[in-house]
């Protein structure tokens, strides 16, 4: 059930982000369903592939999307059990996203052009650091909830006192930064800039077209949904009705849009410092939890 909703609603989240950004810019903006139209349009088009590329470029969009869908099978939302769950599924979840990234990077390198290369080099720079933050968060969650699978880890409860909620809020803060970085949003990357030099994710997929590009766009939307859902499940107790959970995930869209509208993309040299801050928050949460146990 929640898998179906995830697969259907994911592009809507991107639409909400863009609508919010349009609102802040004083424009009317495209419909919130624009990505659905784009996907349909792209599926009807033919694919042009680079003559430099090999089978890696041909298969990468399919592998990436499959990996992301496989990951979304494991995410619990609103107290509903996911399709698949087992001890340590959290690790498989993030490693599947790693597979998607690995092949996106390889396909970007396969077209032998400086722009995708530039994007992919930055992508691996950020993601390598993010990986450690994610796992510090997971260690914290496992310790806090006493559970070793995602569906157990993501069942927060209301805290009686504020002090007990501090580590959780720190982890949620770290997760918010991870969300922005992993999904290539401002201040790490600007998906709407007009200069290839300054992009990360969009630069990597410059040479993709047609159904391939549709797969990539859909995968990116799904990934944003997964990270937003993770954030919501981290904070929102499972005793709240699941409709509110889905609404909260959708509410992440305007939130991200507001963040994107209120700040500029940071210089690439500075971005590792934000990630360092997120790492510090996650490790601090973990240490606090170890001390109190």
């Amino acid at each position: 059930m929640n898998l179906l909703i995830t697969l259907l609603l994911a592009p809507l989240l991107i639409g909400l982000v863009n609508k919010t950004k349009a609102f802040f810019a004083g424009r009317k903006g495209a419909s919130v369903f624009q990505l659905y139209y784009d996907l349909l349009k792209l599926l009807k088009k033919s694919t042009v592939r680079s003559s430099s590329s090999t089978w890696v470029f041909d298969l990468a969009p399919i592998i990436s999307l499959t990996a992301i869908i496989a990951a979304s099978v494991m995410l619990p939302i609103g107290g509903m059990k996911p399709f698949v769950w087992f001890t340590g599924d959290a690790i498989v979840f993030f490693y599947l996203l790693g597979v998607a990234r690995f092949f996106t990077v390889l396909s970007a390198r396969d077209v032998a052009s400086a722009f995708p290369d530039m994007g992919s080099a930055r992508e691996v720079q950020f993601s390598a650091i993010v990986e450690a933050i994610v796992f510090a968060c997971l260690a914290f969650l496992a310790l806090m909830t006493g559970s070793s699978s995602l569906s157990g880890m993501l069942t927060a409860e209301w805290c009686e006192e504020l002090a007990a909620a501090v580590p959780l809020l720190l982890a949620a803060g770290a997760w918010g930064i991870v969300l922005l970085s992993e999904n290539c949003r401002v201040p790490f990357d600007d998906p709407e800039t007009h200069l290839e030099l300054t992009m990360i994710h969009e630069a990597m997929i410059l040479d993709n077209s047609g159904p391939d590009l549709a797969f990539i766009f859909y995968g990116a939307a799904l990934k944003l949904w997964l990270f937003a859902a993770f954030l919501v499940e981290l904070i929102l107790p499972s005793s709240v009705h699941c409709v509110w959970h889905f609404l909260a995930i959708l509410a992440c869209g305007p939130l991200i849009g507001a963040i994107e509208s209120s700040m500029a993309r940071m210089r690439f040299k500075r971005t590792p410092y934000i990630l360092g801050g997120a790492a510090a928050m996650a490790v601090l949460a973990l240490v606090m939890e170890i001390m109190t146990k």
């Binding site: 590329s53 890696v56 001890t87 790693g98 597979v99 690995f102 691996v124 390598a128 909830t145 973990l286």
Partner: protein
């Protein structure tokens, strides 16, 4: 014990046979005599590796010890013949020298440990640390890893495959076996666990960090071997930590928890030994094929090889995908076991600190490993060729067959992966109205019509942003040739990253000791009269000493 022996014998025999098959193509064109020497060294190495494992079945402690040391030493000697086999160059000689030195230093520690183990007054902790130094030199724990990135690039590829895939992990075999024989588990478990945790973290993180900026394919693979040994050590360390929880076993029903952690962590370490052997063996053989066909191992001078060598390229790509420990390939499964053990320990509130350290270290290692393998695959095989490749063709069948032998575990795990991507592939192929009909076009490149391969980023450039983040550790040396004139002239930039432990740790030590040895040079004047004088003085001094 039999099971552990098989665990180590499988990589030795399978990687060994694959390497021998690969060597028939790799040595093609070498003289009969040279080939003879190669097979002599190679089979000698393989036989002594089997003897190392076999010697532990002798039963009698003294006999076992003697046989083990003999087999261990002959393994080092035979393989040093392989390290120096490829060329007469200065680097090759230096690599052989460092390798021989580290082998013998290891043997010294082992002989000391063996001798002390018969003296009850020597503490078991001392014996354990002697064993750790002795076997750590073979495993390649920092700061003892320096021989790996020197010896592996120098040795012929089949030899590197055997040494990296099957020989280095034998260090773990020796360490676990001899610690078990000479020390009591209860006493040594905390020392074992903590040293594995610390050395494993250093090896995993340090190994992959230094692998990242390397241009030489085999040097990169050698550093990544250090990383994988680190991962194995982390698994073993977590398993050993459960022994320190002994008093919990009977108390509050945590017996099954601790058992579960032990089983998972030990299983992960054991599986990773086998998986690493297959994958790294395959990668080294692939690197050998690249060297044989192109004449260089410098990834920044290659590129686009997938079109010329589709078999080698595909196998190398998939092996690299596997060794980046990404699902669903085998190396992920072994790391997953260690991960699950750690996360399970955390969720049960047991061994919290080591488990948290292991999770974070392994995830950071995993992230950088994915970047490293993406770099080496893309720089070597993807994109456009940086240089003339018109003469290059696919390797002889024997070399591909050798790699296919080591590819079997990956192939098995690829079947479910292919089934998973099949629906989307079929969807794109048959349901998208205009599917894959267009012919391939030039890369878009902002509409530029005449791109050259030089416009794409090299492997070094690709890894530079991430390497820059860690430049406090890596200390890359950059040579810039730039012009300050108004008109542009030729400019150049080159970056090298040396092994910092060798450059700043061991080299100064060796230089200092060489200088200290210079003092003895005073006595080596070459004149007989002087020697006679010294001898008479020494005898006189001894007589006087004896008299009082």
């Amino acid at each position: 014990m039999i099971a552990i022996a098989i665990l180590f014998l499988v990589p030795i025999l399978l990687v060994g046979s694959a390497a021998l098959i690969h060597a028939t193509g790799y040595l093609h064109g070498d003289g009969k005599k040279r080939q003879g020497w190669f097979y002599f060294y190679m089979i000698g190495t393989l036989v002594s590796m089997c003897a190392v494992v076999g010697s532990t079945f002798l039963g009698d402690k003294v006999m076992t010890m003697l046989a083990f040391i003999l087999a261990w030493e002959s393994m080092g000697l035979f393989s040093s013949g392989l390290v120096g086999f490829e060329s007469e160059s200065k680097e090759s000689k230096k690599a052989t020298w460092i390798y021989l030195l580290s082998c013998h230093a290891g043997a010294v520690f082992l002989i000391l440990a063996g001798a002390f183990s018969f003296r009850p007054e020597v503490s078991q902790v001392v014996i354990f640390f002697l064993l750790l130094c002795g076997f750590g030199l073979k495993i390649g724990f920092p700061p003892f890893h320096v021989w790996l990135p020197e010896a592996h690039p120098a040795a012929p590829a089949p030899a590197s495959a055997v040494m990296s895939g099957a020989m280095i992990p034998l260090g773990f075999f020796g360490l676990v076996f001899w610690t078990g024989v000479t020390c009591e588990t209860k006493v040594i478990a905390p020392y074992f666990a903590w040293s594995m945790l610390i050395l494993g973290s250093l090896a995993a993180l340090g190994g992959i960090l230094f692998a990242l900026p390397q241009r030489n394919i085999k040097k990169l693979l050698a550093f990544s071997s250090v990383e994988n040994m680190g991962v194995i050590a982390l698994g073993l360390g977590l398993a050993a930590f459960t022994y320190t929880q002994g008093d919990l076993l009977t108390l509050d029903g945590k017996a099954s928890v601790v058992d579960g952690i032990f089983t998972l962590a030990a299983l992960g370490a054991a599986l990773h030994i086998v998986n690493h052997a297959f994958l790294k063996g395959g990668l080294f053989l692939g690197a050998g094929s690249v060297l044989r066909m192109t004449g260089t191992l410098d990834a920044d001078k290659l590129g686009g090889l997938m079109k010329k060598m589709p078999w080698t390229g595909t196998l190398f790509t998939l092996n690299a995908f596997g060794l980046a420990a990404l699902p669903p390939l085998p190396a992920f499964l072994s790391e997953l076991c260690i991960y699950i053990a750690a996360i399970y320990a955390l969720s049960q509130g047991v061994l919290v600190i080591p488990a948290a350290i292991i999770l974070i270290v392994m995830s950071l290692t995993g992230g950088i490993a994915a970047a490293t393998y993406a770099k080496i695959v893309s720089a070597t095989f993807l994109g456009e060729a940086r240089g003339d490749q018109s003469e290059i063709k696919e390797t002889p069948k024997s070399m591909i067959a050798a790699q296919l032998i080591l590819f079997i575990p990956v192939a098995i795990m690829l079947i479910p992966a292919l089934l998973m991507i099949a629906p989307l592939w079929l969807f794109r192929r048959f349901l998208c109205p205009r599917g894959n009909t267009k012919p391939r076009q030039l890369t878009w490149d902002c509409g530029y019509e005449a791109p050259t391969a030089r416009m794409a980023w090299t492997g070094t450039a690709f890894s530079q942003p991430l390497a820059d983040t860690f430049k406090a550790v890596l200390r890359p040396r950059t040579h810039v040739k730039s012009t300050k004139d108004i008109f542009p002239k030729e400019e150049a930039i080159a970056t090298e990253t040396d092994d910092i432990v060798l450059a700043r740790g061991w080299n100064p030590v060796f230089h200092l000791s060489a200088r200290a040895m210079q003092l003895f040079h005073l006595f080596q004047s070459g004149s007989l009269h002087f020697y006679v004088l010294v001898m008479i003085l020494a005898i006189a001094a001894l007589l006087i000493w004896g008299a009082f």
